[in-house]
């Protein structure tokens, strides 16, 4: 097992009677991308600020890259941070900005110059290094911010809403960078975001927060598994095969097939009473139905168990916690 590089143990932050973060515990290993999810006000930003030593915890402890929470300077030396809504000095150039931060980490002028050129190229801003930040687009600023977070070759990178306000192409670029930071640099990335499909793509672990508490944590599969409604599914087939698919599925006792309103190529399959179907479990009944459809030579365009997306799990977990 890879080394644990981020570990929060019963981390708590109170502001008077308000619990911004309440007894939060999770851990992440080297090279892992951890998705920190939650609705607005869930405590994601506060958790990141606690782990990056910007705020002090009310109680609990944490360690970053082997350094305990009391060793703030050592922790800051080995982390990279892109804060939420980070500001940029508009009169500086991108290169100047990176050189300044590189020098704050103890690099010489020569090292800083060379590193800034390298990082600007890595985030696709090599043509813009001599331009003032005031003319950068939001996406360029976010990429510059990520480059700044990498000036010290960090062991752990914290990115708070890095894709906020970016167009799909900008989001894809940022996610590319995040993936390669974890892969090529073997850094742990803690990613706070609202983009759940992207989290599914890049994160190996998910921590869902709500009202300051951890609602669920684990791998993406584990979190989805908790929310899965495994006795219903959607099946999409070409329109001219819909009737054949329905016939194939109707041979299975206990399965109810309905057409989804407004979508003639989409069927909703439900196990009427879990356990009543011929298969041992609803999931096996579904599998058997799907096998029958494919055996009949019907191309399957989409088959998805209800609640099988991270967004379903997210909504279920956060609404359950509120209830």
């Amino acid at each position: 097992m890879a080394n644990i590089s981020v570990e929060a143990i019963h981390l708590t932050k109170h502001y008077g009677a308000y619990n911004a973060v309440d007894d939060v515990s999770f851990s992440g290993s080297q090279g892992e991308i951890i998705g920190l999810l939650g609705p607005n006000g869930a405590g994601k930003t506060t958790t990141i600020r606690l782990l990056t030593t910007v705020l002090g915890p009310t109680s609990g402890e944490f360690s970053i890259a082997g350094h305990q929470s009391t060793a703030a300077t050592e922790i800051r030396r080995c982390i990279g941070v892109l804060p939420e809504s980070s500001g940029y000095p508009s009169h500086q150039t991108g290169g100047e900005y990176l050189r300044f931060y590189a020098r704050l980490y103890g690099l010489s002028r020569r090292q800083a110059r060379s590193l800034s050129a390298e990082l600007l190229a890595a985030v696709g801003l090599e043509q813009w290094g001599r331009s003032r930040i005031s003319i950068y687009s939001r996406g360029m600023r976010q990429r510059l911010g990520i480059a700044r977070a990498l000036v010290n070759d960090p062991s752990v990178v914290f990115l708070d809403e890095p894709t906020l306000g970016l167009d799909p192409a900008g989001q894809a670029q940022v996610l590319d960078i995040i993936r390669t930071v974890a892969d090529a640099r073997d850094a742990t990335v803690v990613l706070s975001t609202h983009l759940l499909p992207e989290v599914e793509q890049v994160c190996s672990k998910v921590v869902i927060l709500n009202q300051g508490r951890v609602v669920v944590s684990g791998s993406v599969g584990e979190v989805i598994g908790r929310a899965l409604i495994e006795h219903s599914a959607h099946l999409r087939v070409p329109l001219h095969h819909v009737e054949r698919a329905r016939q194939a599925l109707m041979h299975f006792p206990g399965l109810t097939i309905n057409q989804v309103e407004g979508q003639p190529d989409l069927l909703r399959i439900a196990v009427e009473t879990p356990g009543a179907a011929s298969a041992a479990s609803p999931a096996e009944a579904m599998n058997a139905g799907l096998t029958a459809v494919t055996a009949a030579g019907i191309p399957v365009l989409r088959f998805e168990l209800e609640g099988a997306r991270l967004s379903d799990a997210f909504l279920k977990m956060t609404s359950e916690a509120v209830a």
Binding site: S86, G87, Y101, L104, Q111, L115, E118, V123, R148, T180
Partner: protein, 279 residues
């Protein structure tokens, strides 16, 4: 476009640990100076100051020609103006130091670097002081024009530099402390300017007013008024350097107390306050 962040050739974890670069306070001071002077803020202030100083010098020279103002008093007036504006500029730049970073959303990225908060504050104070030094530098030719014939140019320069630097350190530190304690940049700058107006008010009282013990206490308790009174006593009244040294106690104490408070208590004040983008 697919972007790849490869392992770095320079700036590796070993390079960061080795820390061959300059100390953090110096890096911050250099960058702050660059920001102050290349962004145009410092140069604009300096230009406006030189325009005002030209006007003041012209008026005092004209009066002098009409024998309304003695030449020593002209030097004193221009020097006091230079000290006042230099200190004001230092205070205002200091007042923007922390609250401005908070407002622009750039403070958090500074706070997550390994540079001590004390070093950040010291670097910012040094940058703010450069404005005082530049202001003083600009006033030298004007003082030379007015003071060369009466032989007080040397003492005027030494006095102005010494007293002005004490006041700039003290008030620049106070400006940074106010800035660290304020969430809003507007509040910080308004409070600092208000403070400066209070400190300068006694220097604007008509000289014919009765000056009892209460006035003397007010004068000596006020670092700006007592510092300027010391300059006047030497340049206009021709007192010896040591005769009125007691006037320098308040400017000196202000510089020491405010500077120490900044260095020792400042790091606790340089923080993100509750509610700033709280997640």
């Amino acid at each position: 476009m697919t972007l790849q962040v490869a392992p770095p050739a320079v700036g590796t974890r070993q390079d960061v640990q080795a820390g061959e670069g300059q100390p953090g306070w110096l890096v911050v001071a250099q960058q702050e100076c660059r920001d102050l002077w290349t962004s145009g803020r410092g140069l604009i202030l300096l230009f406006l100051f030189s325009v005002l100083l030209s006007a003041v010098t012209y008026l005092t020279s004209t009066n002098q020609a009409l024998n309304f103002l003695e030449q020593r008093e002209s030097v004193n007036l221009v020097l006091q103006f230079a000290v006042a504006v230099g200190v004001l500029a230092t205070l205002v730049v200091g007042a923007d130091g922390i609250s401005g970073e908070r407002e622009r959303g750039t403070l958090e990225t500074l706070l997550v670097t390994p540079v001590a908060r004390r070093s950040i504050i010291v670097g910012k104070l040094i940058a703010a002081l450069t404005l005082w030094f530049a202001t003083f530098g600009v006033s030298i030719p004007y003082l030379w024009v007015l003071g060369r014939e009466v032989g007080i140019l040397g003492p005027a320069l030494v006095l102005g530099f010494g007293v002005g630097t004490l006041l700039a350190v003290g008030l620049g530190s106070i400006g940074l402390l106010i800035s660290a304690a304020c969430n809003s940049n507007k509040t910080s700058i308004a409070a600092s300017i208000f403070l400066l107006l209070i400190l300068f008010a006694p220097t604007q009282l008509p000289s014919g007013l009765p000056q009892g013990w209460f006035f003397e206490v007010l004068l000596r308790a006020n670092p700006v008024a007592s510092g300027l009174a010391y300059i006047s006593a030497l340049l206009v009244e021709g007192h010896a350097w040591t005769q009125d040294l007691s006037y320098l106690i308040t400017p000196l104490l202000t510089a020491i107390i405010a500077g120490s408070a900044l260095i020792f208590a400042g790091p606790q004040l340089v923080r993100l306050t509750r509610g700033v983008n709280a997640g």
